[in-house]
Symmetry: C2
Subunit: 423 residues, 2 copies
């Protein structure tokens, strides 16, 4: 098999025939991958790409410790939580140990969407409210409920009772965020809707990565609680040590959430996710509602998640995310100083956003410029993504095993790609 253009053409035709139009793909000419290891992915021709896109394989692709835990447990027992098994208890114990004392119970699901959907169910059931606040270009998942809370996805329309506030991306909007929440609560009250929750990705990934003035979330939370709502920290993207100084994004803000959701990196690609909660909320919810997730908390998924935690701890990946993140932020700032098409880099740890600017103050071509850079960088052998309402923020999120050599390689290739794409 070779990754020739005819191979790609035939794969695309097959996709279109079998999977239909909801399946999109990355890049003007998409990639056909057959293998990956660590921070590298390999296409069908054997060409290597540095993976700086993906926050899922957090400990690197195909990490042997994770693969071994998966294989061993899959050979031994895969069963559900209506029997007693050791793995979900050990996993809950280790995750809860990374969280504030106020957070005491966990529920396992299979995806971040299931975790966020459950968080909303719990918030509505325990507050009696239906109003939910999200940021203007939020993404929280794919269920019917969450599509209405994800203006960046679905049809872009807000669901019933959902209100949006400007994302705290700029210094000014971060400073204004608590006041924006308060104004939103007043709009909600005027519409006669009782608040259930603020649902916030604690690094505002799809909005374009918010790293300014950590602390604004804790101030915003006070307003939400004063109005009777809960605070849900969506850690599906920032969680698991990515932001460098903490295991969870909410910890950067000095916030203690009521409900915490996690997913993507939790199983390094294996479908596992979870919700953590103040115990009194699950007492109220559980008294009236039955909840059983068939695959959630199965022995195999939990063994995988335990292995991911092992690697994060043993390889010191939180510290690495901090160190290499700062190194990369400094390098990207130097790059931005050299290239007028780049704005001010922002981020925490290895969660970085680098805005691409329009060609002039009046132009509206930042989206096209950013897409050209991403495609040119792919040609140079490195994969990154895009974020923000205009898809003009370079989204830089390598596995946390990323080293200095890889950071240098990325900076070099990005420099070249910017030159390539401007000619």
């Amino acid at each position: 098999m070779s990754n020739t253009s005819s191979d790609i053409t035939s794969l695309l035709a097959r996709r279109r025939r079998l999977l239909g139009p909801t399946y999109g793909h990355f890049y003007a000419e998409p990639l056909h991958f057959v293998r990956a290891e660590g921070v590298w992915m390999y296409d069908a021709e054997g060409r290597a790409y540095l993976d700086v896109y993906n926050n899922v394989p957090v400990v690197g692709h195909c990490h042997p410790h994770v693969v071994e835990a998966l294989s061993r447990q899959a050979r031994t027992l895969n069963t559900h939580t209506r029997y007693l098994t050791d793995q979900p208890l050990e996993l809950a114990e280790r995750l809860l140990a990374t969280m504030p004392d106020e957070i005491g119970h966990m529920i396992f699901t299979c995806t971040g969407s299931e975790a966020n959907d459950l968080a909303i169910r719990i918030a509505k059931a325990t507050t009696g409210g239906t109003g939910v606040i999200v940021s203007e270009f939020a993404y929280h998942g794919i269920t019917e409920t969450l599509a209405g809370m994800s203006p960046s996805s679905g049809t872009g329309q807000l669901g019933p009772g959902v209100f949006a506030v400007p994302a705290p991306i700029s210094q000014a909007s971060a400073a204004d965020f608590p006041a924006a929440i308060q104004r939103c609560l007043e709009r909600m009250q005027a519409a006669n809707i009782k608040p259930a929750a603020l649902l916030a990705d604690t690094i505002f990934s799809s909005d374009g990565v918010a790293s300014h003035a950590p602390g604004f979330l804790a101030d915003a939370a006070k307003h939400v609680r004063a109005a009777g709502g809960l605070v849900i920290a969506d850690e599906v993207q920032p969680g698991f040590a990515r932001t460098g100084q903490h295991m969870w994004g909410f910890q950067r803000h000095g916030l203690v959430p009521d409900l915490i959701t996690m997913g993507k990196p939790m199983g390094n690609g294996h479908p596992i996710a979870a919700l953590a909660a103040r115990p009194e909320l699950l007492e109220q919810f559980g008294a009236r509602t039955r909840y059983f997730n068939t695959f959630g908390g199965n022995t195999v998924s939990c063994a995988v998640a335990l292995a991911v935690l092992d690697v994060i701890e043993r390889q010191g990946l939180m510290r690495n995310a901090h160190d290499i993140g700062n190194y990369l932020l400094a390098g990207l700032a130097r790059l931005a100083a050299q290239h007028p098409c780049l704005g001010e880099v922002r981020g925490a740890g290895l969660f970085i956003g680098l805005p691409v600017l329009a060609t002039s103050a009046g132009a509206d071509d930042s989206r096209q410029r950013a897409a050209r850079i991403v495609n040119a960088l792919k040609q140079r052998g490195a994969l990154i993504g895009l974020a923000g309402p205009k898809a003009d923020v370079l989204k830089i999120r390598p596995p946390l095993t990323f080293g200095r050599a890889e950071a240098d390689l990325l900076l070099e290739r990005l420099d070249q790609a910017i030159r390539d794409s401007s000619t």
Copy 2:
């Protein structure tokens, strides 16, 4: 580690402390499992239990072909569908080949809940309706939307626009089902709600297993379509050859659904699920809506599902489900003739429901009697579940590798358990 009562007591205390009150468990004294193989599960003391409960490990626990495919692919590449990979295309091709020609496209998800939730989104988006019909004790999943369509779960309350019809469990209710749907559509129209879909588990698992007069679903579908709604076949429980003569439950009814969902057995315990659809529906949905499922259709999950299909085909498990299902149905009918506490057995293939009766016409103790039988059978070393609004239907669903020897063992132990539980 030993499965002593102190071990169980301490595990239960740990569960309560870490996982909270939403986690229930099976059996008066729950089981602590550490290993499983084929149709057998082993507790911490090494005691073997015949698994006749679980429709998830469809090809038997820890099947070596499935474990090997999982391990091999996890060592090689785990990535998502925004890159081109071979596995989801091969899986879609093989699944679509088992379906009617009208069904042409697939979308992969991680759980049956995600698949059903997506089906509802597609039905609402393409019909412009919001009304959904379910059976009176249906179960379709755990998202906020589906909890409102699952009277057997959640809070038991129907969501907005959701209407329930009596489940077609008895001969009479099966014959009346199309007319019941028609009456329900009239109620919906009177409430000024436009129909979106009939959402039906094609064997009505949680309602208590419906096997009478296959064909009623196709007649019901005509009424739904005439009113502008779609028909969603929820194959999460009956699918993957369990009903013996067909790969999918809707095929027993001569029905061609608009949307088909599948899950539980698809990965033999690995979290993978899917939706299949008439292509024109996804064209309409995809034109206005973005949908991307991070883990859905990843290379590892698809490799697992492909291996499950291999085993179903190579080991002739559909034929086995039919043959052993009939053998078991005959044996259970003999048992029912001997034990006045048992009603008339029903089922298709290895999806069997055996009602437990109340002690007398006026008594309402069938639930307690059924629970006693299930607990006594567990003491005898075999695991089954309960279904139906009164949880008084013995739910018998072994892995499809179940043989005559295991069927005989189950019949013998069930006979003993009924005697044990009546003393």
